[in-house]
C-alpha cells in the first residue's frame, strides 16, 4: 500500500558494484508492476515493468524480479554508475490503466 508518511530508506554502493533495491507490495490482486527512477526535482521516469505472469524481466543493465508468493519485487542494477543515483520507487496496479499505487521508495547513492 502507500507508505507516503515514512522517510525514504537509503542504499549506498560503490561505482561498478551491482545494486539491489527491494520492494514489498500490498495487494495480492495486483498484476502489473513498474519501477521508476526519480531524480531531485523531477517527475518519475519509467525504468522497467513486469506483469504477474512473469517472474523475471531484463532490460539494459536492469533486471526486475517478482515473487508473488511473498509479494516482493526487486530491481537489480548492474555495474552501478554515478548517474544511477536517484530515488527508486516500485508501483503496482490491479489492471493496466487502473490506479497506480506507489511503494515507499529507496534512495540510491553511488560513490565514485
Amino acid at each position: 500500500g502507500e507508505s507516503v508518511g515514512l522517510h525514504l530508506p537509503t542504499l549506498s554502493v560503490q561505482e561498478g558494484d551491482n545494486s539491489i533495491i527491494n520492494c514489498a507490495y500490498s495487494n495480492s490482486a495486483s498484476d502489473y508492476f513498474i519501477w521508476y527512477k526519480q531524480e531531485s526535482g523531477k517527475g518519475p521516469q519509467f525504468i522497467i515493468d513486469i506483469r504477474s505472469n512473469m517472474d523475471k524481466r531484463q532490460g539494459q543493465r536492469v533486471t526486475v524480479l517478482l515473487n508473488k508468493t511473498v509479494k516482493h519485487l526487486s530491481l537489480q542494477i548492474a555495474a552501478t554508475q554515478p548517474g544511477d543515483s536517484a530515488v527508486y520507487f516500485c508501483a503496482e496496479t490491479r489492471a493496466q490503466g487502473g490506479k497506480l499505487i506507489f511503494g515507499q521508495g529507496t534512495e540510491l547513492s553511488v560513490k565514485p
Binding site: E2, V4, G43, G98, L100
Partner: protein, 113 residues
C-alpha cells in the same frame, strides 16, 4: 508520440489563496489521468484519478479538488490553500486500454507561505 505538460513548474502562494494547476496530454485519446502529491523526501500519494471527461475519483479527503473539462486536460484546484498543501504535485497519464505504461509530467513545486 505522446507528451504530457504540467504548469507552472514552481508556485509560491499565500495561505488562503486559491490554486489552479493544469495538466494536458497530447498525442492520445481518452487517457486515464492522475494527480499525485509528494512531500519532501517521501513517496507519491494518489490524490485523484479520472477515466473520462467529468469523471473524477478522489482517493483521500483533503482541501483539494480536481476537474476534467476536456478529454486531455486535468486541473487540480483549491479554493483556500493551507500550509499543509505544500508539496510536489505530479500529473500522470496512462492508456485506458493498458497498452502504455504510466507517464509522469515534470511536476509543480507548490510552497504555501
Amino acid at each position: 508520440s505522446q507528451t504530457i505538460h504540467q504548469w507552472p513548474a514552481t508556485l509560491v502562494q499565500p495561505v488562503g489563496s486559491p490554486l489552479s494547476l493544469e495538466c494536458t496530454v497530447e498525442g492520445t485519446s481518452n487517457p486515464n489521468l492522475y494527480w499525485y502529491r509528494q512531500a519532501a523526501g517521501r513517496g507519491l500519494q494518489l490524490l485523484f484519478y479520472s477515466v473520462g471527461i467529468g469523471q473524477i475519483s478522489s482517493e483521500v479527503p483533503q482541501n483539494l479538488s480536481a476537474s476534467r473539462p476536456q478529454d486531455r486536460q486535468f486541473i487540480l484546484s483549491s479554493k483556500k490553500l493551507l500550509l499543509s498543501d505544500s508539496g510536489f504535485y505530479l500529473c500522470a497519464w496512462s492508456s485506458g486500454t493498458g497498452e502504455s505504461g504510466y507517464t509522469f509530467g515534470s511536476g509543480t513545486r507548490l510552497t504555501v507561505v
